[in-house]
Amino acid sequence: MDVLLAILSQFGLYGLLTVGIATVFAALRVVNLAHCDFAMIGAYAAATLIGFPFGWRVVLVLGATIPLLVVIERVLLRRSRADGLGSMLVTWGVGMALRQLAEVSFGATPRSVTAPVDGSVTVFGASGPAYRLVCSLIAVAVIGLVLLAAHRTRWGLTLRAVADNPSMAGLLGTDPNRLRTTAFVAGGLLAVLAGALYSPTLAVSPTMGFSLLVPVFFALLFSRPGSLATAALAALGVSALAVLLRTRLSDVVADALFYVVVFGIAAARSRPSIRRFFSWSRRFAVGSARSPR
């Protein structure tokens, strides 16, 4: 049970970040390299707005970040949209600027955030910090709501249509600029929420987003473009792999083995026979989903 709670906690963090970056990728076709730095913004808000209750700090930073995200998408990304690699480099620059701004504003010394919920809880015989469980459950609930929105709302339908074929979606009347802005804001807010929620368990520093980048990008690599559900599943897989290896082995060995396994899976997936297998599986899945109708 300890292991399950650890996976749940890790999935809450990686899941919010991965679903956020996958949302941005679906609409903009850009890997947002500043994504985890948005989490740093959320964490610094939790660390510095100490005059407000923790919940209000989260709400305030989410509200305050929306204009920033809109400006980044409209001013910086829209101009370079024709070139995917150019846009990616722009996001790299945005990340660097955010880190430098944080260092100038708050210094390089890491900060801590007091957890809003004290004490420990016991779940099926496994005890752990109460706040860790609370923030994990909130994160999983938010991920569930985002997936629900992606599959049960008109916005989600449009997002999936643009992800699948942006030209066709545009011809059918979708306003691509509006969708890109809303997707960038929604994805960025998920990262800000992740940083703010998990700040009491992390060290808040200008470079904290960088250490979250690697697992999130691995999860993005294993997800299907445009499918937020596979992004969440990939985040769950990466979280489970990391926790299980570190539970059984020393951290140093587990860390090395984690990369071996991840690169092994990535290499295996790129083999033509395995890619064809996945492609056929998807056709059968789509076919069986359509057959009752």
Binding site: G107, T109, S112, G128, A203
Partner: protein
């Protein structure tokens, strides 16, 4: 569509690798005329930016006040001491380049600074090649001794020798060690094991984790299972905060558990004071030292730099360390080899101890150690250990 996605992820991987290899720039701040017959000139190489920028800034500020104190008293040989500050951003490649530039272009007679071990090693190679003395102020032990490198920071042996017996006596004999996975924490653990066994204790757990760890639950679970009485932590940087917080949240870090190591340093006080207040910590210098020279330094530091938090130990080591160097230069003149020779034989009185001097076997400063009891406001000294020797020979001296 999928291949395009993969191309982007591949490009991303290349960018991450590019960043990880470190391509930070460096900048020179301040300047002075290169003049071998002029006033003594010192080159200061510190990370003013990057992950250890806060420690580098503290070192620079302590150094500046130390030089100002000597200059206010008339300087060296009737001339004001000059210095040039260079930011290496904590990158050894920058440190090497800057050390060469300071020696060859700025004609400095002495090098001072660096925070991390790899940048110190990089500068040491250059200083040895050019026969320019180089002084560090941060704690720690390089693996090798060099003819032109001298260390004002406390060694691991000086740190642990007086503190570990007290921890074993007060808390119990079962010791657990946890550290970040790089050279120094392994060296720290090796000496901790030696001293624990010598003190009748047992090391019941030893854990290392790669830098950048965000989730410490598996490590903490293993440490808890070992049921330690004392926890020695050399988890550093932002990881020290995450580990200490999670150790408390998971019930490992209780008031009954003895706790010593990097997280108790003044650098982490703003983030961890709630966890470390009331704990005892071994130091060479702390801002709560009661002697007049330390109190004057603390007052000057707070006034000049508008600093309200505890002053990092490295600032005090740099302040008193540069006064030691300048006392040697007052006798030897501005010739680097003569200064190096004089530093090796000088005995200097300061709040770091009476008659402080460098051991010829390892170039480690033989000075006093103290214990502080951490308070919400700072690091008041609550016990004096007196001189703590470390004369274990190092290869190279």
């Amino acid at each position: 569509m999928v291949p395009s996605f993969r191309r982007r992820v591949c490009a991303l991987s290349a960018l991450i690798l590019f960043s990880a290899t470190g391509c930070a720039g460096a900048a020179i701040s301040g300047s002075g005329d290169a003049d071998t017959g002029g006033p003594l000139k010192i080159g200061v190489i510190v990370p003013l930016t990057g992950p250890v920028g806060q420690s580098g800034t503290a070192l620079r500020q302590g150094f500046e006040l130390g030089v100002a104190k000597v200059n206010d008293a008339g300087g060296i040989g009737g001339k004001q001491v000059e210095f040039v500050v260079a930011d290496d951003a904590g990158d050894p490649a920058n440190s090497t380049q800057l050390a060469r530039r300071l020696i060859q272009q700025d004609k400095v007679s002495v090098l001072f600074g660096t925070i991390t071990g790899d940048t110190a090693d990089a500068v040491t190679k250059v200083s040895d090649d050019h026969r320019i003395p180089f002084f560090t102020a941060i704690l720690g032990d390089p693996e090798r001794c060099s003819a032109y490198q001298w260390r004002f920071g406390e060694s691991t042996r000086q740190l642990l020798t007086p503190m570990l017996p007290w921890l074993l006596q007060q808390h119990g004999a079962r010791v657990a060690i946890v550290g970040s996975d790089y050279n120094y924490p392994h060296l720290y653990a090796g000496l901790a094991k030696e001293l624990t066994q010598a003190g009748g204790g047992t090391v019941v757990a030893e854990e290392y984790s790669p830098l950048g760890q965000t989730d410490w639950q598996p490590v903490i679970t293993r440490l808890k299972a070992a049921n330690p009485d004392v926890l020695l932590s050399m988890v550093v940087g932002a990881d020290a905060i995450a580990f200490s917080q999670q150790a408390q949240q998971f019930g490992l870090l209780t008031p009954e558990l003895g706790f010593e190591g990097a997280p108790l340093d003044a650098d982490y006080h703003p983030a961890l004071s709630a966890l470390t207040t009331g704990r005892r910590h071994a130091v060479r210098w702390a801002d709560g030292m009661p002697d007049p020279a330390s109190r004057r330094f603390v007052a000057d530091y707070r006034a000049k730099y508008q600093w309200n938090q505890p002053i990092p130990e490295v600032a005090g080591n740099a302040y008193f360390g540069i006064q030691f160097v300048l006392a040697a230069a007052a006798k030897a003149g501005s010739d680097p080899v003569a200064i190096n020779r004089e530093v090796g034989s000088l005995r200097f009185d300061s709040p770091l101890g009476a008659g402080t001097h460098f051991a010829p076997e390892n170039h480690i400063l033989q000075a006093d150690m103290s214990a502080v009891t951490i308070s919400p406001d700072g690091y008041p000294v609550t016990a004096k250990f007196g001189p703590v020797a470390d004369t274990v020979p190092r290869e190279g001296c």
